[in-house]
């Protein structure tokens, strides 16, 4: 093509770009608030539902007690390892509370408390960490996916499940939990992208507890907040005080509602703090000072709620005592459950590798059986 052939050549022109290049959606509504959303200690607390808040309180106290008991069990050698959620109980519990019966929870390895708050027997929730099997429950029975140790890998599962349910016309929302560190994994990215493209009914809850083992958030990301990552997928990002269970409950409920109504996924960053070491095997003094921990003690999720509720007369001494008693009962039952030696059957090793055992596995099972019999005879 030469200049001469071009219509309008020689004249200054304003080419109209093809329609395809306009932004597909408005970014503004996707952006999170500048500060984490809070309810407790703000005027929004005037609207608290007393019954709901009393339930939250009881669950928080139970959750804290669960954490203490699980850590105690590691000391007694009853658990191989335990990643505590002390300080993060509001996130764990709100996540479980906002789901309906038919919804699914996708916990990370840290989130046994969320599973317990959803109603799972604590002993079953802790099976992985006790070490008698990998997953201690039937995921379909409880609609709780197996605790996921490979970080962020559970997120695409949640998307796929939610998408499948929607395709089948079922009313199911999936809530997937991940840590601040887990947001750096490729699976985080791919899951959020698929969710947004498919408008799958999923809620992604990032617990930003400040650390990935020893690595602080500043070495993990340079993002303004983790909630800002939502924009790049075309879903709304919400930033919320993860120690404020009233705020957590509200924001999660709203996201679940949106998802259920066909409004697509939401990314929620809950700002919280891991009060204890990464696990009982970790030594947090190697990478963080007391001052930071102390600052967060003043922002404890149980204290925040207890102050608000007592100040408003929603909770009294009797209520507090009742919550503690309930928590103690749960702890005692957990202790008893874990003190019973689990019965393990070595032959289970070969039972669930394939639907039908292969010849090869049959042979190996026979070898092990013969060994065990020989041992028994010795």
């Amino acid at each position: 093509m030469t200049v001469q052939e071009l219509p309008g050549a020689g004249a200054s022109h304003r080419p109209t770009p093809p329609p395809a290049w306009r932004p597909r959606t408005d970014a503004a509504p996707l952006l999170p608030d500048a500060e984490p959303y809070r309810v407790l200690g703000t005027d929004a607390a005037d609207r608290l539902d007393p019954a709901l808040m009393r339930r939250c309180y009881a669950e928080l106290v139970r959750g804290r007690r669960y954490n203490a008991q699980a850590t105690a069990l590691t000391k007694q050698g009853r658990l191989a390892v335990y990643p505590s959620t002390v300080g993060q109980e509001a996130c764990e519990i709100a996540a479980a509370m906002v789901l309906e019966e038919q919804d699914w929870l996708f916990p990370s390895y840290r989130d046994t408390l969320a599973a317990v708050a959803r109603g799972l027997d604590p002993v079953q929730a802790l099976t992985l960490l006790r070490g008698d099997w990998h997953t201690g429950y039937d995921p379909r029975e409880h609609r709780i996916a197996p605790l996921s140790t490979p970080l962020a890998t559970q997120l695409p599962h949640a998307v796929g499940l939610a998408h499948a349910a929607r395709l089948r016309g079922d009313d199911v929302v999936a809530l997937a939990m991940v840590g601040d560190g887990g947001t750096s994994e490729g699976d985080f990215h791919e899951a959020l992208n698929f969710a947004a493209v498919w408008q799958a009914p999923v809620v992604f809850l990032v617990q930003n507890n400040g650390f990935a083992i020893s690595v602080p958030l500043a070495k993990q990301t340079a993002a303004p907040t983790l909630a800002h990552k939502a924009v790049g997928y075309g879903m709304p990002g919400r930033l919320v005080d993860g120690n404020d269970i009233a705020a957590m409950h509200e924001v999660l409920t709203e996201a679940v509602r949106r998802a259920r109504a066909g409004g697509g996924p939401t990314l929620i960053e809950a700002v919280t703090y891991r009060m204890e070491a990464h696990t009982n095997a970790d030594d947090a003094t190697r990478y963080r000072g007391d001052a930071e921990v102390e600052a967060w003690k003043a922002h404890d999720p149980i204290d925040l709620l207890e102050r608000e509720l007592t100040a408003r007369g929603i909770l009294d001494e009797a209520g507090i005592t009742a919550a503690r008693d309930e928590a103690e009962a749960m702890a005692a039952s957990l202790r008893d459950g874990m003190n019973a030696d689990p019965v393990v059957d070595p032959m289970d090793l070969f039972a669930h590798v394939y639907a039908e055992q292969t010849d090869r596995l049959r042979e190996q099972a026979a070898m092990l059986r013969a060994e065990l019999e020989a041992e028994d005879q010795a």
Binding site: A158, L161, D348
Partner: protein
Amino acid sequence: MTTVAAKSAKTGAKPATMAQALTRAMRDAMAEDPTVHVMGEDVGTLGGVFRITDGLAKEFGEDRCTDTPLAEAGILGTAVGMAMYGLRPVVEMQFDAFAYPAFEQLLSHVAKMRNRTRGAMPLPITIRVPYGGGIGGVEHHCDSSEAYYVATPGLTVVTPATVEDAYGLLRASIASDDPVVFLEPKRLYWSKSDWSPQAPAAVPGIGKALVRRTGTSATLITYGPSLPVCLEAAEAAREEGWDLEVVDLRSLVPFDEETVVQSVRRTGRAVVVHEAGGFGGPGAEIAARVTERCFHHLEAPVLRVTGFDIPYPPPMLEKYYLPGVERILDAVARLQWEN
């Protein structure tokens, strides 16, 4: 386990390509079972870069045959979630090397989920992987990556070598309650044979090898893209006075030891042939196991004719890499006939 109903028999087998048989297998599975969903890059509107999913989106809609975003871990990871909910995803990986981004999902979840949940949550996912070379593809398009799959307990690893098996084994894979890595030999996509899609004789189960040619001198053990080469070698070997038996494994996991062992005990000699690199390849397991079980029947060590232990070569050099008739005959000649 979904039942694979044999379709009403219709006579009149017509020439069909392996590609067509694969497409037909998915189509029939989707028609029979609404939980079967096909997903992957370009599988919808385009029908796949090899056109194996051609027509499925049109017939069953985009929700049943879905163009996904370009992210293999995401594809397999969401397929896991779909299978958790009761669907039977059939995932296409566009080329062998592009399945690698999905390896964490494959090794840590897909292969293990049944085991991790004591059988409560099996994952009936079929992962279709076009594999191998011989089509002049550039780097990352010609890998034979079966060694990785074979070494991963929990995966079933299937690979057809004929048009008929392409249909039957893919049907069986989709119907399997276990995750199946279904390796499609891309250079056989356009291989043809007379076949009637309406009456797949009987859909074979997974795990049975087939003696494709009987013989008495030695056994060639092979699968997928190397089967035609071995059959050709067996023909050529007649001139040298060798009567070769050829076993097509059809699935690497489960490995049909009995069929192979019976053949080798009969012939007393064996060569394993595959395109994947030799070192740590599937042929190593086959040779080791066959030797273990046929030791006193063997006149010579089990030999292997495989790809070299190098990255897959560029198009202009691949002919030097691929195990061909000559190399197979050379190996047969080294089976200590003088003894």
